[in-house]
Amino acid sequence: MTLDHVVCETETPAQTQEAEARPLWLRFDRWWLLFAGVVFIVLLLVIRRPDPYRRIVVFLEDGIRVTLSITVVSFLFILFAGLVGGLGRVAKNPIINGIASIYVEIVRGIPLLVQLLFIYYASPIVLRDLGRRLAAVWPALSVRLIEIKLNPFAAAVLGLTICYGAYMSEIVRAGIESISKGQMEAARSLGMSYFQAMRYIILPQAVRVILPPVGNEFVALLKDSSLVSVVAVADMTRRGREFMASTFLALETWMMVALLYLVMTLFFARVVTYIERKLSYVR
């Protein structure tokens, strides 16, 4: 599903052992070959055929920045949403558990693209209508709701957070549930509260368990962020469409866009592996 798998599977056990001593970024395995190859192709195209490839890259530059910042900003919110949602999913309180479960079930059943379209185009209508109804009761809020204008970037971050937050909640829930019940019992029997036990005992262990799927989510999010191009965010994909519309260079444009996404995803997949190794501990 993600590049992370490719990276791991290319190392046979023997190679892994032999290379274990070297730090990860110095290990010249197949990931390096792939990464260097892709970067080489990009550079070759840009240098040898500046027209159109250099023009494309220059035109995409803003978009790359938008794609990266939307991914990083959303991911921070997603981590928070996943933590809250995951804790909700394992909560014994039926109301909290119910709310978290309904959130996850609804969001997982609607395509991300549709969620983004709904938030950007449909939710202002809902808010405006709500504002009109509130006019008599709460005029100040009513005016604000009627005049609301969604910033495309904020709408995109909101949409990605709501959607990926649900998936992240499930990852966090699975991580918490993977820690043996004895850990919670031991912590509680020492007099720790539920939240102290979560904070000091369960979550630190769960984090190590869920790091690989969380890293996968980051890479998946980077790719899915291309969907925000439909809600007027000038990310790399949208910039690519704009460039193509004015030049009709479909093959060149989309090849370069694809290569640049690949450079980014390969890079982050490796960063995730690196963090995983750093955080692992003797069991």
Binding site: E185, A186, S189, L190, M192, Y200, Q205
Partner: protein, 244 residues
């Protein structure tokens, strides 16, 4: 005033259709060492776990050191007074031995880092593994892990220690090192409720034995009484099985 530190009155507990505890009553006096024996599935562990509310009872009352185990705020008070040692140690694998012993002191007892560490070093010394303070649980043998677990419980300065089959997950050669620590505790006058089949420990330290079977306490007796003249047929059967 009686000096009963644990009072268990008519406690029943069922898991679905299985009756784990059926109208069980037991009292433990301050400073007393009570060993609970009996076949597995007889409710011994459940009884222990009810005392610090890892399991909620269905009916009956439990009073620990004058605190009834009913409202939520009392449960935390009781847990602070009662230390428990588990069959599978349940050490925190992401923390070193020292951190295992200091964590609850800092976040529950609000002791300073230095204060907690000096108590922890003292206790690790007491259980005989001062040199393992910086080792992670995975680097320790089972016996060493269990001794860290005992130190971790003692760090909260409990008035009562519960032991839930503390040696049954250990290799034979490691049992003694854990039992020695428990014997020391008993000699110091700690109130202990122990689920165990270690007859050596029973002979050396127990004041009283409770034999549990099918959710009932079938017989309460002294160690001498148990070995010389068990009253109940069921006790006799059980003893003949574990003593041969």
């Amino acid at each position: 005033m009686s000096d009963n530190i644990i009072e268990i009155e008519h406690v029943s507990k069922r898991f679905g259709r299985v009756v784990a505890l059926d109208d069980v009553s037991l009292t433990v006096e301050r400073g007393e060492v009570v060993v609970v024996i009996g076949p597995s599935g007889g409710g011994k562990s459940t009884l222990l776990r009810c005392i610090n509310h890892l399991e909620a009872v269905d009916s009956g009352h439990i009073v620990v050191d004058g605190i009834p185990l009913t409202q939520a705020e009392n449960i935390d008070k009781v847990r602070a007074e009662v230390g428990i040692v588990f069959q599978l140690f349940n050490l925190f694998p992401h923390l070193t031995a020292l951190e295992n012993v200091t964590l609850a002191q800092r976040v529950v007892r609000k002791r300073s880092q230095e204060g907690a560490e000096s108590i922890a070093h003292e206790l690790l010394d007491k259980v005989g593994i001062p040199e393992k303070a910086d080792a992670y649980p995975a680097q320790l043998s089972g016996g060493q892990q269990q001794r860290v677990a005992i130190a971790r419980a003692l760090a909260m300065q409990p008035r009562i220690m519960l032991f839930d089959e503390p040696t049954s997950a250990l290799d034979p050669e490691m049992i003694k090192e854990v039992l020695d620590v428990m014997l020391d505790l008993a000699r110091e006058g700690m109130t202990m409720l122990v689920v165990s089949h270690e007859m050596g420990f029973v002979k050396a330290a127990a004041h009283r034995i409770a034999f549990m079977c099918d959710g009932h306490i079938v017989e309460e007796t002294t160690p001498e009484g148990l070995f010389t003249a068990p009253k109940e047929e069921r006790t006799r059967q059980f003893l003949s099985q574990i003593l041969t």
